[in-house]
Symmetry: C2
Subunit: 268 residues, 2 copies
DNA sequence: TCGGTAATAATGTATATACATAATAAACGA
DNA sequence: TCGTTTATTATGTATATACATTATTACCGA
């Protein structure tokens, strides 16, 4: 006869509350339900990088102590973060911040290398240009930057076999990622480099079809005016815009797939 | 002193269980947790149209009776369906199946009329052709149809002001939507028509850039080879593929925006 | 030392209870 | 009859409890 694990009966560790401080700017955090507050504070720690990927977050019974609440309340918050893909749970071991490979099942942030290799073609990356410079007005608008702000500008090509597969034009905010200043991006593409460095991110996509201009046509070895799929992506993490990319895929070489569903018919 | 609402103490209405029947094909429904089973059965009723949009689903205390479980368990299932956008709850009134306008915040199913009108331009719809015919092999593959299957094929144009905005080529499975056979689609576009008829749906998108072929160029009044954004969408509902559309947007007239995020930086 | 078994510690699911909140419906008095 | 008060009802949040499940750790005997 196993009685109870008694998680709620553990000594409460009354001091050392993460949370009660609160009043964050006194504007928000007003009357949120407790499980929402727990969720947002844990999410905040993950997004800000304070708890990096792989980090073990406090056990449920520790959080019940910190927030002086029952285990079910903590469980509700953490379970939601699991559904959002920020946390993974392992029994007996604990709950861990997941690694930020694919943020969402829908229109996930593609690793171009994987994409090319999944086509059975050899992948090659080639950096073209790299420049640290002050942000212009348009850049500041794009990345919501303060007036004097610096960023890194990179232009690179991704090859599938002998043929250019994708042209990448990227801005990285040096406010959000200062380490980018010391990186040449000659051997590693900015995408994977950022993903391994920025604890978590989310993105906004803009997708359109354009004819290749002279520069893009030259770099991608296609005729000017060839239809290209242009994906522009702004990425943010922990309340700060991190990067803006424009990916130009020549013609019909590329197809984006996005799916969202309660339940897909094929599997049921 | 308000004692308790006593939801759990209500007479259990022991007969009339929706659920205990179960054993559905005995292949699945094996050892799902109860709250998952409730979720799936309610979701199934919504997706199949048995509970159409606007329908009031049973009160929590009724479901506790039907499933012989506590209110918290029912609440967990329903709360998840609220998060998925299938159900809306109103206090004192009950829980209702939502109307299926926008299935997901991400890359939602656009109503082209709204899209055009949001640009401040007058909208006009024009059906080009309409045909009931047997499904060819390619169609059957696309919509996962049985061998002899019939469908409706529609071609139509959407105008923004005087200019063609979008070319629509659509197939509708007459197995899933038999009423389509009696509809000319001369005055109402297939999109809105379907949305008002199919209880709920989810979709898979494929997005690419192509040069306009002769037919598309003629209909859209653009030069052949002009870059177009082509969105192909398969939609299913209640385990059945309903429709396949190809929307061709000329050149840079159109931009798709998709966003997914734990929390957007702008708002925090 | 190896390999099996038992204890342990975390999450997973579920219950019964309690009170808060919000919207509707009913009762009631001017 | 109208408008105000009061009761009712369904959802919203939270608690304390219980036991199941599953890795891991610890132990123990051949």
């Amino acid at each position: 006869m196993t009685v109870d694990d008694g998680a709620n009966l553990r000594p409460a560790a009354a001091e050392a509350t993460i949370s009660i401080d609160g009043d964050r700017t006194a504007t928000e955090a007003r009357e949120l339900p407790l499980h929402r507050r727990i969720l947002e504070e844990v999410e905040g720690k993950i997004l800000s990088g304070e708890w990096p990927p792989g980090h073990r977050i406090p056990f449920e019974y520790e959080l019940t102590g910190q927030y002086r609440c029952s285990r079910m309340t903590v469980n509700k918050a953490i379970t939601e973060l699991v559904k959002r893909g920020l946390i993974e749970r392992r029994r007996k071991s604990g709950s861990y911040v997941t690694h930020p490979h694919a943020q969402s099942a829908v229109l996930e942030i593609h690793d171009i290398r994987l994409e090319v290799e999944s086509l059975g073609l050899p992948y090659r990356y080639q950096r073209r240009t790299r420049l640290d410079r002050a942000a212009k007005a348009a850049d500041r608008r794009l990345l919501d930057l303060p007036d004097p702000a610096r960023l890194t500008e990179i232009s690179a090509l991704h090859f599938a076999g002998a043929h250019p597969f994708c042209l990448e034009d990227r801005l990285i905010s040096l406010e959000a990622v200062p380490e980018a200043a010391g990186e040449t991006f000659e051997d590693v593409a900015p995408g994977p480099w950022l993903i391994s460095r920025v604890p978590w991110s989310a993105a906004e996509h803009r997708i359109r079809a354009v004819g290749a201009d002279a520069r893009a046509a030259g770099l991608l070895a296609i005729a000017p005016g060839t239809p290209c799929l242009v994906v522009e992506r702004r990425t943010w993490s922990g309340g700060l815009y991190v990067t803006h990319v424009r990916l130009t895929y020549p013609g019909e070489m590329h197809e984006l797939v996005a799916e969202f569903a309660p339940t897909h018919p094929k599997q049921s």
